[in-house]
Amino acid sequence: MSDEEKQPQVSKTPKEEPQGQKNNKVADDARSRALAEALQSSFKIVRIFMVILGVAFICSGITKVNENEQALLLRFGVYQDPPLKPGLHFAWPYPIDEIVKIEVEEQRTIESNVGWVTAEGDEPQDSFSFTPDYDGYALTGDGNTIHIKASMTYSLPETAIDDYEFKFKGVSEFIRSALDNAVYHAAASHSALDAITIPDKIKEAISYKVREVIKANELDITLSTVTIEAVVPVGVKPAYDAFSAADAAKVKRIRDAEGEAKSSIAIAEGQAKVIESNGKTESNRLLTSVEAEAKSFNNQRPFYESNPELFRHRLVTETMQRVLTNAVDVFYLSGRQPRIWLNRTPAKKKLNEGEAP
């Protein structure tokens, strides 16, 4: 209704109307005017309110993007590349524009514990067998079973934020499924012992498989770290512990043998040095002694040649003197009265190794 329509109609002159009616008219006019004024002011309020609403509607698209966020702008439903950086951004109100904000965490973490926890979320339990719907475990390449869980951290390249947000319905669930898949692949290709003793091999296999699955699904994420924890079932742990002890004993035995081997080679090398040194000494001595003997021979020869008998007798006697001095026992047989010279100092008894003197 326009303002003109709301104005009271004043077409008849007061002379044409009786006094009572005139009074009533006056009262009606006053009411009408009051009503018109009230309506006018109400419409003003409505107009102001509408203007405010209009402005609010137009400004409703303005969005603040925080430092830990990135935002994707859709215009008429179509993604506008690139993503919006932190700051204040103008956008037309929905349904023209739509802004989807994403928290940009430096590192996102996904955990796969389908091979670890029970159906109630408890840690692995001791039991005689695994109940498929209850116990979490994985089959290993040697047909055994282990409990295994893995955790993976990843980040999103800036160029992949739109894919991460728009390409998947439940992207976290998908990545978790990819990690579960990788864990079961890795377990199925390694022995239970390898899984618990060489976790790096398992981690490498998991990383490789996750990348493969992610790539197959055209998702671009950057895998940062993969951590795993693997244990054998509680019931068979003592047997594995005993094996670990035996393995440690084996390593110790081998190290001891290596030590002994090194030691015996070192001793042999020392002995070899002694032998070589002795050989050198002996050869030097031989050479020196022969030289000395030759010199002595040449010195003695003139004496010998002048009186051989006397020379021989003198030397034999001198030699016998030295020999008899050193001899322990001398049995001297002289007809019916044998005489024995006994050495005053008895010969020292040879001691065996480790024996007290």
């Binding site: 008429f76 439903g77 695994f130 699904n217 050989g279 001297y332």
Partner: protein, 302 residues
């Protein structure tokens, strides 16, 4: 008059907005849509009815109707259930599949656009594929430490291929089928535990024997090397002695000047050398100088 203009403008704007709402529709980046005219899908020259994201025109109901579907990749997983390998061994398997709508019209015709119905159908298809594929492989091809014999990737690829054949007509593209869990029936796992224990016992004995063998080999090698070192040293010493003897030959020539004296001196030295320490001598009374002791007796007797 001015007031009429304002009212008219607002009215026109409202009519335009209302008209746009009736005559246009928007498809989001994550969606795909189809449009029907009096119930019949509107298809392009290539026979496709998919309407991609953006702003589009339409006639108001009942002329045109628009149906929108989520075109994002969806991940579905189903129950952990038992199947059998080609040799009849029971195995428990749980698979997941990632898929998306690649033909909105077929999807609409197959499931009336209901994602839950699609998920149920997929479950049926993937389960069938899973059972038929697993039954073509042995247990050793599902779990094996020898990666050449392990066929898990191939199994997953086969399952995807088989399932894709069935889902192609539903307007669904399967991106991948993956194993999410593998297990054994409860009765088998108890036997596995026993086997794991006995395997460890056997490995303990094997490890102990291997340790002993390796230690012995190390010691034997070391002894061999030590003996070689000593033998080389002995040989070196002999060589040195030989060289010394050769070098002393020139001095031996001196002895040729009087061989009788030389022999006498050698014998004397040899005798002294052999009787040097702790010797016991049994001597004839005529041996000089002891013949001096018997000489007076003889003289007396004479």
């Amino acid at each position: 008059m001015k007031k009429n203009h304002i009212t008219l403008t607002i009215g026109v704007i409202l009519v335009i907005i209302f008209g746009f709402m009736l005559l246009t529709f928007q498809v989001r980046h994550t969606e795909v849509a189809i449009r029907t005219t009096f119930g019949k899908a509107v298809v392009d020259n290539e026979g496709k009815a998919d309407i991609e994201s953006g702003f589009h025109f339409r006639w108001p109901w009942p002329v045109n109707e628009v149906y929108k579907f989520d075109k994002r990749i969806q991940s579905s997983e189903w129950t952990f259930e038992q199947t059998a390998t080609t040799e009849g061994k029971p195995i428990l398997i749980k698979v997941f599949a990632t898929w998306r709508i690649n033909n909105a019209l077929k999807f609409f015709k197959s499931f009336s656009g209901d994602l839950n119905s699609a998920d149920e159908k997929l479950k049926e298809v993937v389960r069938s594929s899973q059972n038929s594929v697993i039954s073509n492989y042995t247990f050793d091809q599902i779990v094996n430490t020898n990666t050449d014999l392990l066929k898990l990737d191939e199994i997953e690829e086969e399952m995807k291929k088989n399932a894709s054949l069935d889902t192609a007509n539903f307007g669904i593209e399967i991106k991948m089928v993956g194993i999410k869990r593998l297990g054994l029936p409860a009765s088998v796992t108890s036997q596995v535990f026993e086997r794991m224990k006995s395997e460890r016992q056997a490995r303990i004995k094997e490890t102990e024997a291997a340790g002993e063998r390796e230690a012995k080999m190390l010691r034997a090698d070391a002894d061999l090397k030590a003996n070689e070192i000593l033998a080389r040293a002995e040989a070196q010493a002999k060589v040195l002695r030989g060289e010394a003897e050769a070098a002393s030959a020139k001095f031996f020539k001196e002895f040729e000047k009087n061989p009788e004296l030389a022999n006498f001196l050698f014998n004397l030295n040899a005798m002294e050398g052999s009787l040097k320490e702790n010797s016991t001598l049994i001597l004839d009374p005529n041996t000089p100088p002891f013949n001096l002791l018997t000489q007076p007796q003889q003289n007396k007797n004479n």
